[in-house]
Amino acid sequence: MRISSMQQFQQGVNGIIKNQEIVNRSQQQISSGKSILTPADDPIASTRILQLQQDIALREQYADNLIAAKNHQNHEEVALEAVIENLQKIRTLTIQSGNGSTTKDDRGFIAAEIEERLKSVVDLLNTRDASNVYIFSGYKGEVKPFEERAGGGYSFEGDQGQRELQISANASVKVNDSGEDLFVNIPSVNNTFFTQDNSENIGTGVINVGYIRDQDELDSFYPEDFYIEFNSDNELTPPQENYSVRRRSDDRAVDGLSTIPFSAGADITFAGVSVKVSGKPEPGDTFIINSSEKQSVTDTIQMLVEGLREFDDSVAGGDQINEMVSATLTNIDSSITKISTTRSEIGARLNSIESVDNFQQDLELVSQEALSTLQDLDFAEAVSRLSLESFLLEASQQTYSKVNSLSLFNYL
C-alpha cells in the first residue's frame, strides 16, 4: 500500500502516544497501589468495593459499640459486687441484732452501724459511669436514682429503661439494668405496701414510707389498694382539714375513715398499715397506698433500723424483733439472689459480646480480604508489566527516528 509521508509521521507519533498512555496508567496504578483507578475500569468491581467499604465502616461502628458495651457491663459488675459485700455485712449485723442477749442500747448501736452501711449501699446504687451518667437510673441518666425521702428511707426516682447497643447487624446487647428491677422489685417474705404522692396534688403534703402495724390485717385486705383523699374543710363543722381513706377499686370509704380531722404528721392507721402525711395538703389532694408483694432493699433495711430503735426489751418486743429480723434476713437474701442473678446475666452478656466480637473480627477480615483482592494491585505483575511497556515505548521512539530519517532527499 502506498504510504503518505504525513501518515508515516503521524503513525509513528500515534504509536508513541499510545504507549505513553499505557505506561502512564501502569505508573498510576503502581503509585496508588490500586488496580482500579476509576469505576469505568471495572464498574461491577467498583460497586462491590463501595459495598465492602460500607460493610467495613459498619463493622467499625460495631467494634466501637462492642468496646463500649463491654465497659458498661464491667462497670456495673464492679458496682454490684460491692453492693453484695455491703449487704452481707448488713446481714451479719442483722443476725447480731437478733441475738437474744442484746439490749435496746446495743440494738441502737447496731442500728446506727446498719444505717451507715445503708448509706454506702445507696452511694453504690447512685454510681455514675465515665460520662457522669447514673448507671442504675434507667433512661433518666441524670436523675439520681435513690433519693432520700422527707419521711425517712429512700425512693427510686429513675425508670425501668434499658439501653441497647447494636453490636452487629442483627444483634444488640443491653448495657444497663434498671435500679428498679435490681433493688426495688424484690420479693418480700410478707405482703407489704408502698406509698406515693399523687403527681396531681396541689398542696405541699408528703406521705412517708409507713410501716406494717398488723401483718394479719394487711393480709386480709391484700391486694386492695387505698388512697387518702383530702376533703373540703367544710365537710366538718366547724370547718377543719379532714381526709377520707378510700379503696382504689371502687372509691368506697374504708369503714370509719370518712372525713377524719387531719393533723400533720399524725399516724393514719388502716388495714394493718400506718402512714404519716406531713406538710399541708390541699382539698382534693390524694396519697396512694399500693399493696405489694415486693419491697425495695432500702425499705427493708430502713424498716429494720426503725424497728431496732423502736422495740423494747420486753418479751413482746423480743418476739417482734425475732419476727422482724427473720423477715429482714429473708428479704436481704432475696436481694442478694436478685443481684447475683443479674451478675450472671452480665456474665452471659459479656460472653455474647465476646463471641460477637470474634465473629465480627473474622467477618471484617473476610471483607478486608475481598476488598484487597478487588482493588489492590498485584505489584509483581504490575512492575513487570511496566518494564515491558517501557521497553515498547522505547522501541516505538527508536523506530520513529529511524524510519523518518530515511528519505530519498538525502541522496539528491
Binding site: 502506498r2 504510504i3 503518505s4 509521508s5 504525513m6 500515534n14 476509576t38 469505576p39 469505568a40 471495572d42 464498574p43 467498583s46 460497586t47 468495593i49 463501595l50 459495598q51 460500607q54 465502616a57 459498619l58 467499625e60 461502628q61 466501637d64 459499640n65 460520662s131 451518667v133 433512661y139 441524670e142 436523675v143 425508670d159 425501668q160 429503661g161 434499658q162 439501653r163 441497647e164 447497643l165 447494636q166 426495688v184 422489685n185 399523687n198 396531681e200 396541689i202 391486694p223 389498694d225 383523699e229 373540703s232 367544710n234 378510700r246 382504689r248 371502687d250 372509691d251 368506697r252 370509704a253 382539698p283 390524694t286 399493696s291 405489694s292 408483694e293 415486693k294 528519505s407 532527499f409
Partner: protein, 998 residues
C-alpha cells in the same frame, strides 16, 4: 515538417509545469486536507505533413488531485462516530472519577454521618458526641451539595460547549456555502478544469463539520454540495445556509435545545442530532448527567424523608419533640420549583403547580411531563419521560389544590386557568441534593429518646413483661402537648386474660378512655399488642341513655306495663368509600324502633362487615330518702321495694338463701344506701351471669350493664321513698373567662361581682356548646349552686329531670340532670328504664350517619374519633389480676437511645426503589456511570481504529509521499534537461542549415 523547436519548447513547458506541481506537492506535504496533484500530460495533435502524421510535442491537459470520493465519505462518517464517542467518554470520565473518589464521593459522607450517630447512641447524654453528629450531618449535607454543584456546573459547561459547537457549525456551514460559490465560479471560468485547492478546502470544512455533528452530503450539480444534519434537516443548500441556534429548552429550562429555523418555523432538532461532538454531549447529558443528578437527588430525598420522619418520633435531651432533622424538603418554594411551565403555554402565565414528595421509596429518577391534551381545558395526562409511559390520564377540577398521586410524589394543581395544549415539566428529584439543608442547630436537639416509657407497678404479682413502647405516629392527640403524653395510660389487668386501658391523668382515679378500651383480651404465651394497632379504624359513640320526663306509674290493678328506655326511633346508615370511583356509597338503612335496647342495636350493627359495635348501660342512683307512712292512708304500711330487671333487691331472706353469694348485706337499711344496693347487686348470682355490676363510693351507686342491656327499675314504697336517677354522665363546666381568685366550694358563698367575667362553657353531645356567666354576690354555697343552676337553665340546653350541680374539692363544677323517683304509698309502683350507649368501631373508609335529626340515638353526622393512639406497647408473660402497667411520657430521659437506634438503622433500610439501601443506591449510580464510561471507552477505541484506517486509506490515495515526489523531481528534471537538449539539437540543425549558406 514538424517543428522540432516547438516540440522541444512544449517539452520544456510540460516538465516545468510538472516540476512546479511536484514542488507544490512537496511544499504542501504538511497541509491538512491537501490532496496530492498530478499533471495530466498529453501529446499534441500531430501534423499531417507530406502524407504522414508527425507528432508535434506534448502539453499539459490538466492538473488533477488524486482523490477517492468514497474514501473521503467514509472518513467523514468515521470522524463523526469517533468524535461522538470521544466526547461522551471524555465527559463521562470526569463524572466517573468524581463519584468514586473517597475525597469527593458520597459514600464516605454517609459512613461518617452514621458512624457519628452510633457514637451518640452509645453515650446519649454526651453533648460532645451529639455535637459530632451535628457536624457530620452538616458534612453530609455539604457532600450532597458539592457533588450536585459539580454535576450542575458540568451542565453549565455543557451548555457553553453546545453554544460553541453550534457557533462552529454555523461558521463551517457558511464557509462551505462560500466555497460552493467559489468552486462554481472557478470551474465555469476554467471551462471544466477543477479548482483543486478549493475542493480540498471544502472537503476539509466538511470533515471539520462532521467532527462536530453527523452530516449527510449530497452533490448537487457536480460543483455544489448540499449538507444536511440529523434527520435530513438542511444546513447548507448550494450557496445558502440555515443557521442552527441554541435556545433554552422549552420544557426543561436547565437543558438547552438545538433549534433550526426553516422557512420561519423554529424546529427543535435536539433529539434528531446524531454523530459528532454535539451528539456525544447530548448523549452524555441524557445517559450520565441527568440520571446522576436525579439519582443523587433521590438518595438525598430518601435520607431526608426517613431521618426526618424517625427524628420527629423522638424527643431531644430536654424532652422536647424531635424537630425535622433536615429542613422541610416539601416547603412551598421548593415544591413549586419542581414543576415548570412550558414557554409556549397560553398567556397569561398564571398556572401554579407543585410537586410534593410523599414516599421516597417509590420515587423514580425520571422527570415527567404534564400535557393538557384537550379538547377541553381540564383533561390532562402525565408522561414519565424515561420510558415514555403514560402514568396518569384524568382531568382536573377547579377545586384547588387538586392533587394526584404519582410514583411517590403528589402533583398538586394550585392555581391558574389551565388551557388545552399547556405543558408542564416535573422534576421531582432533580433538586433533591441541591436543596438539602440541615435544620438542627444544637446538639441538644438530636432526638435520641422515644417519647413514651412504660413502667410495671412494683405491686404486680404476675410475670408480665411489658415492652418499653414504640411510637409510630406523632400526629395523634396523644402527643399534641410537647413534653406530655395525653393522657398517660394505665393498663390494668382485670384477670390473667383481660385488661382495661385507662386514662391515668389522675393516678388516684383512672377513668376509661374515649373511645374506651375496656375488657381487652390478653393471650398468654404470645406477644400481645396491648394498644390498638390499626391506625385506620375510627369510633363513633351514641348519645347514650336518657332520663325520661317522669317515671311511669304502674297501677296495681292493671297488667304490668314497661317503661320506655328513652331511646327514640332512628335510621342509621353506613356509608363506604368506593375505592375505584372515590365516591361514598350508602349501604341499606337500619330502622331502629323506639325503645330498642342498645344491646340489640349493637348486635344488628355488628352483623355488618367492617363494623363492630358494643353497648353499655349506666345508671347512677344517689340521694336515697325514706318516706313516711301516712296514717290516714287506705294502704297498709309497707317497706320499700326496689326491683332491677325484675329481681327484687330489697328482700329479706332466710339464712339458707340461694339468691346471693355470701357475705351479702342481709339487713335492708332505711333509707336505702348506695353501698347496700351495690353490695346486693354484686352478690346476686343472676346479675353476675348477666354482666350487671355496681360500684358505690358511699354517696352514689353506679350500676353498669356491660353488654348494654336496658336497666329497668321499679320502686314501690311509702310516699317519699325514693332516690335520684340519672345516666351518670357528668357534664363539665370549662372556665373560659377570668380565673376565679379563690376556689369555689359547695359550702361557701362567693362574690362574682368583683373581677370577671367568670364565664364557662359546656359541651353536650348531640346538642351544642353552651356558654354561661356567673354573676352577683351569693351568701352561701347553696346560693352559688343555685346561681349556676339558674344560669344553665337560662341557656337553650334541653334536658329532663332536675339539674344537680356539684362542686368538687378542687373547685371543678359538674352537673347532670337527675330525675327524682318516689313511691307514692299505694300498691302501685313507679318504673324507669335506662337505655344504653352504643360504641361503633368502623373500619377504614366507613362512616355512620343517623336520621332524623331529632333522634337521640346518634348525632346526625357523628364525629369519627380515631381509636389509634399513635404508639404501641407489647407484652409477653402471664400477668395476674390487678397487675398494673403505666405508659407515661419519658421525662428526663437523657440516657434513652431507643430512637437513636432506630435512626441508625435507617442505613440498613431498603429505601431506594424499595430494594436498595442509601449506600447501595449510590453504588448503583456509580456503577451506571462507570458502565457507560467503560462502554464509551471501548466504543471510542474501536471507532478510533476505524477512523485511523479510513484516514490511512485517504492518505494512501491522496497523501503526499516525499520519496515519490523526490523521484518525480528527478524524473521531470531529466525530462526538462532532455527537452532542453532537443532545443539545442534544433538550434544545431538550424546552425548547420545556416552554415550551408555561408
Amino acid at each position: 515538417m514538424a517543428d522540432l523547436l516547438s516540440i522541444g519548447i512544449s517539452g520544456l513547458k510540460v516538465h516545468q509545469t510538472a516540476l512546479a506541481v511536484t514542488g507544490n506537492n512537496i511544499t504542501n506535504v504538511n497541509t491538512e486536507g491537501y490532496s496530492r496533484q498530478e499533471v495530466d500530460v498529453v501529446s499534441n495533435t500531430p501534423q499531417f505533413l507530406g502524407g504522414i502524421w508527425v507528432g508535434s510535442g506534448a502539453r499539459i491537459d490538466d492538473v488533477q488531485r488524486v482523490y477517492d470520493q468514497f474514501l473521503v465519505d467514509q472518513l467523514r462518517i468515521d470522524t463523526s462516530n469517533f468524535s461522538e464517542l470521544d466526547s461522551l467518554e471524555l465527559n463521562a470520565g470526569q463524572i466517573d472519577s468524581l463519584m468514586a473518589d473517597p475525597g469527593t464521593g458520597l459514600q464516605p459522607g454517609l459512613e461518617r454521618f452514621f458512624g457519628s450517630l452510633q457514637a451518640a447512641i452509645d453515650d446519649p447524654s454526651s453533648i460532645p458526641a451529639r455535637q459530632v453528629v451535628i457536624s457530620e450531618s452538616q458534612g453530609l449535607v455539604d457532600r450532597f451539595q458539592t457533588i450536585d454543584k459539580r454535576l450542575t456546573d458540568h451542565n453549565a459547561t455543557l451548555n457553553g460547549q453546545m453554544d460553541a459547537i453550534v457557533g462552529n457549525i454555523n461558521a463551517l456551514g457558511e464557509a462551505i456555502a462560500v466555497l460552493n460559490e467559489q468552486i462554481l465560479f472557478a470551474s465555469s471560468s476554467a471551462q471544466g478544469s477543477q479548482p483543486n485547492e478549493l475542493l480540498d478546502k471544502r472537503d476539509l470544512a466538511l470533515k471539520e463539520l462532521s467532527e462536530l455533528v453527523g452530516t449527510t452530503v449530497v452533490e448537487q450539480d457536480g460543483n455544489s454540495i448540499n449538507v444536511s444534519i440529523g434527520n435530513g434537516q438542511s444546513l447548507v443548500v448550494g450557496t445558502t445556509i440555515q443557521k442552527l441556534e441554541v435556545t433554552n429548552g422549552s420544557g426543561d429550562p436547565q437543558r438547552k435545545s438545538i433549534v433550526l429555523t426553516q422557512n420561519g418555523v423554529e424546529l427543535d432538532i435536539t433529539r434528531e442530532i446524531s454523530g459528532g461532538q454535539l451528539s456525544g454531549l447530548l448523549a452524555f447529558r441524557e445517559q450520565v448527567l441527568d440520571p446522576a443528578i436525579s439519582q443523587l437527588g433521590r438518595i438525598s430525598l430518601g435520607l431526608q424523608e426517613f431521618i426526618n420522619e424517625q427524628h420527629q418520633k423522638g424527643i431531644d435531651i430536654d424532652g422536647q419533640p424531635g424537630e425535622i432533622f433536615f429542613k422541610d424538603y416539601n416547603a412551598a418554594d421548593i415544591a413549586q420549583r419542581r414543576a415548570v411551565g412550558n414557554d409556549d403555554n397560553a398567556k397569561p402565565d398564571d398556572r401554579q403547580l407543585a410537586v410534593y414528595i410523599t414516599d421516597a421509596t417509590s420515587l423514580t429518577d425520571s422527570d415527567y411531563r404534564v400535557e393538557f391534551t384537550g379538547p377541553n381545558d381540564v383533561s390532562f395526562k402525565v408522561i414519565r419521560i424515561d420510558d415514555g409511559a403514560e402514568v396518569l390520564k384524568t382531568a382536573i377540577s377547579t377545586d384547588y389544590p387538586d392533587t394526584f398521586e404519582i410514583d411517590g410524589f403528589t402533583l398538586s394543581f394550585e392555581a391558574g386557568n389551565y388551557k388545552a395544549g399547556d405543558e408542564f415539566y416535573l422534576m421531582p428529584t432533580r433538586s433533591g441534593a441541591k436543596d438539602i439543608e440541615l435544620n438542627l442547630e444544637l446538639p441538644q436537639q438530636i432526638a435520641l429518646a422515644v417519647p413514651i416509657m412504660t413502667n410495671a407497678s412494683i405491686g404486680n404479682r404476675g410475670s408480665g413483661d411489658i415492652s418499653s413502647g414504640e411510637v409510630f405516629d406523632i400526629n395523634t392527640a396523644a402527643f399534641e402537648i410537647p413534653g406530655q403524653l395525653q393522657p398517660p395510660i394505665l393498663i390494668k389487668f382485670t384477670s390473667a386474660t383481660t385488661y382495661d386501658v385507662l386514662d391515668n391523668s389522675d393516678p388516684a382515679h383512672p377513668i376509661p378512655l374515649f373511645p374506651s378500651l375496656m375488657n381487652q383480651q390478653y393471650i398468654p404465651g404470645i406477644t400481645n399488642n396491648l394498644l390498638p394497632t390499626d391506625s385506620t379504624v375510627s369510633a363513633v359513640t351514641s348519645l347514650g341513655g336518657f332520663v325520661p320526663q317522669s317515671a311511669t306509674y304502674q297501677d296495681w290493678r292493671l297488667a304490668p306495663i314497661t317503661a320506655g328506655n328513652g331511646l327514640f326511633p332512628g335510621r342509621l346508615t353506613i356509608s363506604e368509600l368506593d375505592p375505584i370511583t372515590g365516591i361514598m356509597v350508602d349501604r341499606p338503612e337500619f330502622f331502629i324502633a323506639a325503645d330498642t335496647p342498645a344491646i340489640e342495636t349493637a348486635r344488628l350493627l355488628s352483623l355488618e362487615s367492617g363494623i363492630e359495635a358494643t353497648a353499655r348501660t349506666t345508671v347512677e342512683l344517689k340521694d336515697f330518702v325514706a318516706g313516711t307512712y301516712l296514717t290516714n292512708s287506705p294502704f297498709p304500711d309497707e317497706p320499700v321495694t326496689l326491683t332491677l330487671n325484675g329481681i327484687v333487691l330489697t328482700d329479706v331472706l332466710p339464712v339458707d338463701q340461694l339468691k346471693y353469694d355470701t357475705p351479702y348485706p342481709d339487713v335492708v337499711p332505711e333509707p336505702l344506701t348506695p353501698d347496700f344496693i351495690a353490695d346486693r347487686i354484686n352478690a346476686n348470682f343472676d346479675f353476675r351471669d348477666q354482666g350487671i355490676m355496681a360500684r358505690s363510693d358511699g354517696e352514689s351507686v353506679e350500676i353498669i350493664a356491660i353488654n348494654g342491656e336496658d336497666l329497668a327499675f321499679e320502686i314501690d314504697g311509702e310516699l317519699g321513698d325514693g332516690f335520684k336517677y340519672s345516666n351518670g354522665n357528668d357534664i363539665y363546666l370549662k372556665p373560659t373567662g377570668e380565673a376565679l381568685p379563690t376556689l369555689l366550694s359547695e359550702f361557701d358563698g362567693y362574690d362574682f361581682s368583683v373581677g370577671g367575667p367568670f364565664s364557662f362553657e359546656f359541651d353536650v353531645p348531640g346538642q351544642d356548646v353552651f356558654s354561661i356567666e356567673l354573676t352577683g354576690t351569693h351568701a352561701t354555697g347553696v346560693d352559688v349552686l343555685n346561681e349556676i343552676k339558674t344560669q344553665i337553665e337560662a341557656t337553650t340546653y334541653s334536658f329532663t329531670g332536675d339539674l344537680d350541680v356539684d362542686i368538687d374539692a378542687k373547685g371543678n363544677i359538674t352537673f347532670q340532670p337527675r330525675l327524682e323517683v318516689f313511691g307514692n304509698g299505694d300498691w302501685g309502683s313507679y318504673k324507669v328504664t335506662m337505655g344504653g350507649e352504643i360504641k361503633v368501631i368502623l373500619d377504614e373508609g366507613l362512616t355512620l350517619s343517623s336520621a332524623p335529626n331529632l333522634s337521640n340515638l346518634f348525632e346526625e353526622e357523628p364525629s369519627h374519633e380515631p381509636v389509634y393512639l399513635g404508639y404501641e406497647v407489647t407484652m409477653t408473660g402471664i400477668p395476674d389480676e390487678g397487675d398494673e402497667y403505666e405508659v407515661n411520657f419519658n421525662s428526663d430521659a437523657v440516657s434513652d437511645n431507643r430512637n437513636g437506634n432506630l435512626l441508625s438503622n435507617i442505613q440498613n433500610l431498603e429505601i431506594i426503589e424499595d430494594d436498595m439501601t442509601l449506600s447501595e443506591g449510590y453504588g448503583r449510580m456509580v456503577e451506571e456511570v462507570g458502565s457507560i464510561t467503560a462502554r464509551a471507552q471501548i466504543n471510542a477505541e474501536s471507532a478510533k481504529t476505524l477512523l485511523d484506517f479510513s484516514e490511512a486509506s485517504v492518505q494512501s490515495v491522496s497523501g503526499v509521499n516525499l520519496d515519490e515526489e523526490a523521484a518525480k523531481l528527478i524524473q521531470y528534471e531529466l525530462g526538462y534537461n532532455a527537452a532542453a537538449q532537443v532545443i539545442s539539437v534544433a538550434r544545431d540543425i538550424f546552425s548547420t542549415l545556416i552554415g550551408i549558406f555561408r
